[in-house]
Symmetry: C2
Subunit: 219 residues, 2 copies
């Protein structure tokens, strides 16, 4: 964060400082004074540039989301549609941005909510496209699947610190990305179930759902 400060305007340094602070300490837990110290400016300058602490937060939201949209858009433009790492959620976006996104999704951020919805729509589109290419099966409820899948991927992002501790491995190191992408693909491809078992369990679940429905309608 501090290494390239010299090249950035004070306004950009403030934004970057907030980008790092908000996910670490929370919005209320982060003080304007702390951001100012990180950015090497006075607290008054923070307000001068962003109007208020809340304004700074909105600016961070907009900045991060715009950057992520750009990176994802470029990835989709290219031929990486069939790249397993895209399906595994391992798009290559700078760590502070992803960390901020994960945090923003756990707060009442309108901007983050809009991005989430956008990503669900995009996932539905991608899966339908993949189905045309014979690679995937959209199924009758592709939207629910997409939303759940995205929740899982974003959730794994939020849980990153726990993954690191539990696996004793940095989830964003080359080694970590490989191990986690592999595990994600294995999980998503049903490799964890014995042959025939997955289908049996899905059928069992359908029965359980039907029973639950009956119990509920019986009171």
């Amino acid at each position: 964060m501090r290494s390239v400060d010299g090249d950035l305007t004070a306004e950009a340094r403030i934004r970057d400082a907030a980008l790092a602070r908000f996910p670490r300490d929370g919005f209320e837990g982060t003080t304007v004074r702390a951001i100012a110290v990180d950015a090497g400016v006075s607290p008054a300058l923070v307000v001068h540039h962003y109007g208020s602490k809340e304004g700074l937060r909105r600016a961070c939201d907009a900045y991060v989301i715009e950057r992520i949209r750009t990176v994802k858009g470029e990835a989709i433009e290219s031929d990486s549609l069939t790249d397993p790492s895209v399906i595994a959620g391992g798009f290559q976006i700078a760590e502070p941005l992803m960390r901020y996104l994960g945090w923003a999704l756990t707060t009442d951020s309108d901007a983050a909510a809009r991005l989430f919805d956008e990503m669900v729509d995009e996932s539905v589109r991608l899966i339908r496209l993949a189905e045309e290419h014979g690679a995937m099966v959209a199924g009758p409820d592709v939207r629910t699947r997409s939303a759940v899948m995205l929740s899982m991927q974003m959730g794994a992002l939020v849980m990153r610190d726990h993954l690191r501790r539990s696996l004793d491995m940095d989830p964003l190191s080359t080694e970590g990305i490989m191990a986690i992408s592999r595990a994600t693909m294995e999980i998503f491809s049903g490799a964890m179930f014995a042959p025939g078992q997955a289908e049996a369990m899905r059928e069992a679940l359908e029965v359980a759902i039907e029973n639950t429905r009956k119990e509920h309608s019986n009171g």
Copy 2:
């Protein structure tokens, strides 16, 4: 929250109020005064019973985690090992507790971290047991798989509000639990990929991983 207040001691009402406030407003964003109002007591009583705001938070952590341990322990004691909804992560635990757990996992809570690690260990145990019964395949890296799977499930919990908005359906209603459990099972069982496609992608990922390793060692 307020409906059964009459039966609870002030100490319990304070804890329940904090249990609801912390996930909604964050730790720093929650004021002792707000908790006191919710519980129908004075701010001084909060400190009297829990020593400090931080002490109240620790008490909430301990309470929620103990309750979850109990519920999960009972579920494992019974024969629900093969119940798909267990694998799908839909243990039936009261909503405020799950909401609190999801929040605690996104903060630097020692207690939540310990619970996460515990759940990973337990997942490894369960999968190995299921392998003995011929239902699952532990694989060479069952611990990574378990940790990633748990991150996804907990993450989906944290992302619940986004799921609700995106699917226009309460994830904790009967309807929502059914739809999401079904989608989760479908995702985890590989139903989203065309036959043979999943294996092809896993192989492609292995190749990609190998290439990445080479690029990195070449500088």
